[in-house]
Subunit: 366 residues, 2 copies
Amino acid sequence: MSARMVGVLGGGQLGRMLALAGIPLGLRFRFLDPDPKCPAAEVGELIVGAYDDEASLRKLARGVEVVTVEFENVPARAAEYLQSHAMFYPGRAALAAAQERLAEKSLFHALDIPVPRFAAVESRAGLQKAAAYCGVPSVLKTRRLGYDGKGQFVIKSMEMVDEAWDVLGGVPLILEEFVTYEREVSLIAVRGRGGETVFYPLIENHHRLGILRLSVAPAPRMTAELQALAEEYAKRLLDRLEYTGVLTIEFFQKGSELVANEMACRVHNSGHWTIEGASCSQFENHLRAILGMPLGVTGIDGFSAMVNIIGEAPDEDAILAIPGARLHWYGKEPRPFRKLGHVNVSAREAWVRDELAAQLRALLGP
Amino acid sequence: MSARMVGVLGGGQLGRMLALAGIPLGLRFRFLDPDPKCPAAEVGELIVGAYDDEASLRKLARGVEVVTVEFENVPARAAEYLQSHAMFYPGRAALAAAQERLAEKSLFHALDIPVPRFAAVESRAGLQKAAAYCGVPSVLKTRRLGYDGKGQFVIKSMEMVDEAWDVLGGVPLILEEFVTYEREVSLIAVRGRGGETVFYPLIENHHRLGILRLSVAPAPRMTAELQALAEEYAKRLLDRLEYTGVLTIEFFQKGSELVANEMACRVHNSGHWTIEGASCSQFENHLRAILGMPLGVTGIDGFSAMVNIIGEAPDEDAILAIPGARLHWYGKEPRPFRKLGHVNVSAREAWVRDELAAQLRALLGP
């Protein structure tokens, strides 16, 4: 059997986990990443180069069956090149919508998916007007390249508007109403080449300093109605974008309502528990989708949690000694706030899962 | 974090699956195999060379934390070299005992582990004598290099003794009583560096033409007594050999008795269901053991089965469409009787597992 090759733009931990899921399916992987020591280097062929370097993109696309991405902010030039030279999923249009907050919020709005009140901001005067419309508190955000809480400024009162502009002004911005919510949940959705869809159960996410620390699945106190609502919203997006692959949507939950925060056109940190916690992981399902294979079962048989390893390496043996803890290193050097790995736990009973997750958090920091 | 390196003698599918289990633990792998296209080539560094070539063995051992093996018949010279130049598990003594049937049966016998009646055979006259002692039917086997039913001759009556000698005579042989048994079961045992042990539930195995086709875990109608008996036998072996790593023992079951057939000083085909079916797979536990990490949980939460893909590639989409089927290709070209991959299924209920396994067998041949 000659192996089917998959090209991946980006060689981070998501690429690494895609390959670990895909190699058993008989797939081989080629990555493009500027870092020769990137996490995916160990599990496939690596082209070292800039994401938008055409010669590198050509090498990436040559002879592969399909090309996909493992990070958010794909340069437009790279997306254009790949779209016209390869089977490229999830495709340029979806990437463009996801990486520009104004386009993203406008898309949600157009599809009747609830979003916080928002307004485009291009000037100091415009920010005053936007703040009057959105109210305070509200959050000023750069439209591009924001993640993990960077490029954001919370405007707590009208007096802070000028300070916000001083900090972030000069690039295209968006102001969003500050939504009070009970919790953040995310939905991992998968759409196959033929339009078929599957969804994982809603996940509850906990952040610290803007970085995901803990995901719990299924989200506690989740109702069938809430799951159906999230899936309905996701389906509108998937179909509008004619999407292929995994799409993740983050929602704020208020009672029985879901307000869309953002989407990611890729596998997602909040879905890492699926490696052991679901029958078919988000990584395998993304590959199945983009290769036109039947989609895998997304059901969860029990209760799972994922705890991120951030910044520094913990006592590994203490983690491995926790019954059923599954350790996933990304092969990265420790550095403050860096995602170095994660640990998954699963159990038949929710309280056992909670107990195991608490042990992990005690080892891995708050 | 600088990665911990593991050296593996052999680059077949077992090496490949060791690496797929070990990369998430932050390990890197180096393999020695004569075949540049061996299954493990995709998941680590590969040294192409003969198993007993000293220059290649030196390269394999250089700078790795530990060396292990992924096949049975390790040349004595290779085992000697590795034993004296590396942390080498499971070690020379265990390998020597496992690859010579007379030594193996004698070891079982010395540890009061039931074995079929057996006798060494070195001549035609000796075979006559041995056949009188063991009775007919009995099985004449080469002492070395026999696997998957090769190098064996069933002597059904005393008249066949000469024919048996004509077929196999000239190399060291062993004659074994032909045991009538209800089924074959295997036990995957793990012993850590500090002597701690864990065991997977007994597995029921089904062969065709001497090749494993189906493993079912836990073995149906298994009792706590049978499990305890198998573990007691395994513990005797592990402790006598001061074993580190995974050791597999195949037993013939007759009622409440277990008769040892053979052992394998490595992860085993009958344990492949542990990749998804157990909390910690046999591959991960072998690595945890040889690296001195805490051993992982071996319990099974439900019912699992593994069906081998032998000789030719089946309809892949049909396999992937079976709910929960987990496909594992080894990256090998199809060839008659060759193990190309396997498919695992798990379920909460035994009858669901049996149903899924039946669907797989319909696709994958008898």
